[in-house]
């Protein structure tokens, strides 16, 4: 019975999610903007490009060791959405962030996102294809390459939001030794265990999916967050009900 409850609840949640996203998108557009929970990581994100302009060093942005088609495709897309949010500001201000990847599909994705603002304005001359760098083809190789990059390029900040494993500890430690401002986010518990004590700002789990809403504050994005929250509350309710049922009705 508990299993049945869980299955039905999950089915309803999956079906309801797109409808709720649509509804709340309209609500946000027309009536109100919700009060988002404060996440210091996004506040720190907003100022990084400005700092890079003033200091004259690039800002390093990493979208993880995953790629498109991998098990962490969506996490990689979430990290790439941050690049997308910052790309317009980078093109407008002339900042030149360095985006590092470890996968070829992520390379293509990040390059496309960095190129968007320049193609929109019809002037591709300001775009640097090597602004997106493959620093390694495997997680540990990528970590070593990133450590070397941080040491020699001396970016003003280190932003790592995406799919990471325990190798992120090497990168974080290198950043700490250089005194970099570090913003990190991951869905992997092993990576979070290393990120939480060392990074200045940490995004845990699904918080990285909220990056576009926090950075751009578009009504449809805020509606999506609201819909996710509603479904989450519903699932919590379903889990509690299932747990109670399983406890009192083990059969």
């Amino acid at each position: 019975m508990a299993d049945r409850v869980l299955q039905v609840g999950l089915f309803v949640a999956v079906l309801a999610l797109p409808l709720l996203m649509l509804v709340f998108g309209v609500v946000m557009r027309r009536w109100r903007i919700p009060q988002l929970r404060h996440l210091s990581a996004f506040d720190a994100l907003r100022g990084q490009l400005g700092r890079s302009i003033e200091v004259g060093h690039p800002a390093h942005i990493s979208i993880g060791t995953g790629g498109i088609g991998a098990e962490d495709t969506l996490v990689t897309l979430a990290g790439a959405s941050i690049v997308d949010s910052l790309a317009q500001e980078a093109a407008d201000t002339g900042a030149s962030p360095v985006v590092s990847v470890a996968d070829g599909t992520a390379l293509i994705l990040a390059q496309d996102m960095l190129r968007h603002p320049y193609t929109r304005r019809g002037d591709i001359s300001g775009y640097d294809p090597l602004a997106v760098q493959t620093l390694g083809m495997a997680p540990l190789q990528y970590a070593v390459g990133t450590m070397d990059f941080l040491r020699h390029s001396q970016p003003v900040s280190n932003v790592m939001i995406g799919s990471f494993g325990p190798e992120v500890g090497l990168i974080i430690e290198a950043g700490v030794r250089q005194g970099l401002a570090q913003v990190a986010g991951s869905t992997d518990a092993r990576a979070l265990a290393l990120l939480y004590p060392s990074a200045n700002h940490v995004l845990i789990g699904e918080e990285i999916f909220a990056a576009p809403a926090y950075l751009e504050r578009r009504p449809d994005q805020l509606g999506r967050l609201q819909a996710q929250d509603m479904v989450r509350y519903f699932l919590i309710f379903v889990i509690i009900v299932a747990a109670v049922l399983r406890t009192f009705f083990p059969g």
Partner: protein
């Protein structure tokens, strides 16, 4: 310094973002771009936003010194600007009266070295005095007219353009020109003795019949003051520019433009002898404007109105006059020298139209649409009395017209009438009204009352203003009363002589109430530039400026005097625009097109006073800064590695000791072979391997297994026992396996595992060489479809890979059982999948792998190789234990030391 509003960090000037937190900084100082209004740092040469030039080119064509340059370089680059001096008391004695002849410079101005090009061109294009230009004769100069202007209005010596100087000269210096539309020469009016000369000069010239006047006798004087000869180059253009109402007043006789009737409460523009023109209004038509004026009271518009009437209509002047406003051009009379003449296209339309209809009978009603006030300007009696709107304050100062008292209307509250205007109330026409003065530009504007009774629609007040004083020489001036517009009537009549005093604050105390047309005594004899003499108020007491209450003569405080820029004696100010020719952009080749460029490029804020001494240290710093700017962008800030806390010698020693300890612990048992002597391994939980082993055990011979190597190289040592155990077990069961990997390194890892197995085992189990499937989840799909298997063995170092294969198996619609070999670190995250049954069994970590191996082969630890394996295994365990102990000890020490530091 620019302080960040978010974190308070001090940032250098010109920074757009905070160096600490990246917050956008408000711009406090800098140069506002004249093109896009973007605030730029003070040391920018070009706008950051639109790339427009911020720092103008200097006299030599080189960029002027930027804001950060030293004063020496700045002074050498930028021309010296001498601002106007502060007002001082004018001289006591009046300046000698100048004859009423046009200054020669008007006719043939000599281009001065410091004159801008546009001025030179204007002057060159100005019509010569010998040219027949129907302009208003300059009014008779006041005997006591003064050439002096207040010091505060005096520009620095040598800086005054000639045209400006000419403006200050009385009309007597203006050329007398044969006029066709000019009234007679102004005759000194006996009743004008009390008027200031400069005001008396403004009286319109009495209408004098002349040749062209005959032709234009129907035209109001104000219209005839302009050039009646249609300009050759601009006639057509001017005609096109005429509004409809003014086109009716063109040169064609069949379409006459009516002269506007004068305003009802203003003196008639013509010179009706019977009616007295208010002195102040009459004076408006006379003498050229003098720049001197009683201190503080004469408004600018009045000053402009008082321009010499000799100013020619600018229609015939092709020279461009960028700097002279239209209103000034339009207000100039015919005798006005032409320094700032405008091309025909810049003349107001109504003025051009008026100019072009010298023969237009002003009395005819305009067929075209013309405003009533304009039609009444000519004083046409048949002009329908149209009531135009006028501000109430003007109503209060406008007397009745034509002898008719204005309709009693609500007296304009005193507070609504400007004080300065109240002083200039038009006096009621008196028999002693002086003869109409020559037409002035104002008369040209307001229009004299035409000799004929037909007038265009001119506001009464305007026609009244143009109406000269009723002299005997103007017999033809119609004496018919002019319709007073309602708005003017509403202002109410003003008592002729016993006007209620309007006490108001003046710099000289309470000014005695003035009735329209009467000037206070103190003003009558006042000459521009002269100090205000003592005067008697109504009560007869004598007042002097010093004796007024509350106010003292202005004195410049010493601190302000100190800031007064030094005047360069005897030097003509270098014309900043003379040699300036724009070299780039769309204005390339043009000279002096933007004379205000130097002002536009200046930084905002109060400029530094040059009188303030600049310390040598500041100069030196400015020079250094200039050098840095000259070199280009400042070197980027180098982020130095943070000094890691604890990087002291003691910490280094501790680290070395810990490393040695770990080494000893890891190596020693392996070397000495005595680990198992005193270390007893704990019982391995069977759950770490047994469920997976059971799945493999359930395979029959010949069944196919898909084995995935999906871990990284640094996990190889941990995963190798697990992989070896699975392959060995598969060999025991007779199953065949296909090795695949979703990572390129997986193939090499698989090979390393195979190389450690006995060759026969490897050959029996493995069907083919390992295969690499790119694309992660897509590759997994492909691998599942290409290699149908009875069991899926996933060797993964992360739970994500396990999850991926679970998903792809479900997506492919397969029901292949899955077992996992997973690292110890990933076990907690993979445990739910095991518990849910999606993964039938999992072998976790090296411990589980070794246990699995021992379960397969109880004799595995026997023999030398077995012992070697055991020792190595135990050394690993001991190292692990030692590491754990060191970790715990380190945490305790950190806790204690942290407490001490916090305490």
């Amino acid at each position: 310094m620019n302080y960040c509003p978010s974190c308070g960090t001090a940032n250098r000037d010109g920074s757009r973002f905070c160096n600490e937190c990246g917050h956008k900084l408000p711009s406090k100082t800098g140069i506002i771009c004249p093109m896009c209004s973007h605030m730029n740092p003070a040391d920018n040469m070009y706008c950051d936003n639109c790339k427009a030039r911020l720092v103008p080119l200097g006299p030599t064509g080189q960029p002027a010194a930027p804001a950060g340059a030293s004063p020496a370089t700045a002074s050498s680059a930028a021309p010296i600007k001498k601002p106007l001096s502060l007002p001082t008391k004018p001289a006591e004695e009046p300046a000698p009266e100048e004859p009423d002849t046009p200054p020669e410079s008007v006719a043939q101005p000599e281009p001065e070295a410091d004159e801008p090009n546009w001025l030179v061109r204007l002057r060159a294009a100005a019509p010569k005095p010998s040219e027949k230009r129907p302009t208003v004769e300059p009014p008779a100069p006041q005997p006591s007219s003064s050439q002096e202007i207040p010091d505060w209005m005096k520009p620095a010596e040598g800086e005054v353009p000639d045209w400006f100087q000419r403006l200050a000269e009385p009309a007597s210096a203006q050329p007398s020109e044969p006029e066709s539309v000019q009234p007679s020469e102004p005759e000194p009016q006996p009743e004008e003795e009390g008027l200031p000369d400069w005001m008396a000069q403004l009286r319109p010239a009495p209408a004098a019949p002349s040749a062209s006047q005959t032709e234009e006798e129907q035209a109001p004087d104000w219209l005839t003051t302009f050039d009646t000869t249609p300009p050759a180059s601009s006639g057509a253009a001017s005609e096109e520019e005429l509004p409809n109402w003014l086109k009716g007043m063109s040169a064609e006789p069949e379409a006459p433009a009516p002269a506007p009737p004068p305003p009802p409460s203003m003196p008639p523009p013509a010179a009706p002898v019977a009616e007295e023109e208010p002195d102040w209004l009459a004076n408006l038509r006379r003498e050229p404007l003098e720049t001197s004026e009683p201190a503080g009271e004469t408004p600018d518009w009045l000053m402009a109105v008082e321009e010499p009437p000799a100013a020619e209509a600018p229609a015939a002047q092709p020279a461009p006059a960028e700097e002279v406003p239209d209103w000034l051009m339009g207000l100039r009379g015919p005798s006005q020298p032409e320094p700032a003449a405008e091309p025909a296209e810049q003349v107001p339309d109504w003025l051009i139209g008026a100019r072009e209809q010298p023969e237009a009978p002003p009395a005819e009603h305009p067929e075209a649409e013309a405003p009533d006030w304009l039609s009444r300007l000519s004083g046409a009696p048949e002009a329908p009395p149209e009531q135009a709107e006028a501000p109430e304050w003007l109503m209060g100062v406008a007397p009745a017209v034509g002898g008719e008292p204005p309709a009693p209307a609500t007296q304009t509250p005193a507070e609504e009438v400007p004080g300065w205007l109240r002083d200039f109330r038009i006096a009621e026409p008196t028999p002693e009204a002086p003869a109409p003065s020559p037409a002035t530009p104002v008369s040209a504007f307001v229009g004299e009352r035409a000799e004929t009774e037909e007038q265009a629609e001119v506001p009464d007040w305007l026609s009244e203003a143009a109406r000269p004083a009723p002299p005997a020489a103007a017999p033809e001036a119609p004496a018919e009363p002019v319709e007073v517009p309602a708005w003017l009537r509403d202002l109410g009549p003003l008592p002729a002589a016993a006007a209620a005093p309007h006490p108001e604050e003046t710099p000289f105390g309470e000014a005695p109430a003035a009735v329209p047309g009467e000037f206070p005594e103190w003003l009558r004899g006042q000459q521009p530039g002269q100090p205000t003499p003592a005067f008697a108020d109504e009560s007869g007491r004598t007042l002097t400026p010093e004796a007024t209450t509350g106010l003292e003569a202005a004195t410049i405080p010493s601190w302000l005097q100190a800031l007064k820029p030094p005047e360069v004696p005897g030097e003509a100010v270098a014309a900043p625009h003379e040699a300036f020719v724009e070299t780039e952009g769309i204005l390339a080749g043009l000279a002096s097109v933007l004379p205000a460029a130097e002002v536009m490029g200046r930084a905002q804020g109060a400029p530094a006073s040059r009188n303030v001494g600049i310390p040598a240290a500041d100069l030196a710093r400015a020079g250094v800064f200039g050098e840095l700017l000259a070199r280009g962008a400042l070197a980027p800030t180098v982020i130095k590695p943070r000094q890691v806390a604890g990087s002291r010698v003691g910490d280094v020693v501790v680290r070395v000791l810990i490393a040695l300890l770990l080494l000893v612990v890891a190596v020693l048992p392996n070397s000495l072979g005595f680990a198992s002597s005193f270390i007893q391994l704990g019982e391995v939980d069977a759950g770490l391997y047994k469920p997976a082993a059971d799945q493999v055990a359930a395979l029959s011979e010949g069944q196919h297994v898909l084995m995935v190597f999906d871990y990284d190289a640094f996990q190889a040592l941990e995963m190798r026992p697990i992989a070896e155990a699975f392959l060995s077990h598969l060999a025991q069961r007779g199953a065949r396996a296909t090795l695949v990997s979703l990572n390129p390194t997986g193939l090499a890892l698989a090979d390393t595992v195979l190389s450690r197995l006995p060759e026969e085992v490897a050959l029996d189990v493995v069907l083919a060489a390992p295969i690499y499937y790119p694309g992660q989840a897509i590759g997994a799909q492909r691998a599942l479809l290409d290699n149908p298997a009875d069991l899926l063995v996933v060797l993964s170092g992360s739970p994500d890979s396990v999850r991926l294969w679970i998903e792809q198996v479900s997506a492919a619609g397969l029901h292949t059982p899955i077992v996992a070999g997973i690292s110890a670190g990933a076990l907690p995250q993979a445990q739910p999948y095991v518990q849910s049954g999606q993964v039938r069994g999992a072998v976790a970590g090296m411990v589980g792998g070794l246990a699995y191996q021992r379960a397969l082969d109880p004799d595995l630890d026997a023999g030398d190789s077995g012992l070697d394996r055991v020792v190595r295994t135990e050394s690993v365990y001991v190292s692990q234990l030692a590491f754990a102990l060191i970790l715990i000890a380190g945490m305790i020490v950190s806790l204690i030391t942290g407490s001490r530091q916090a305490g």
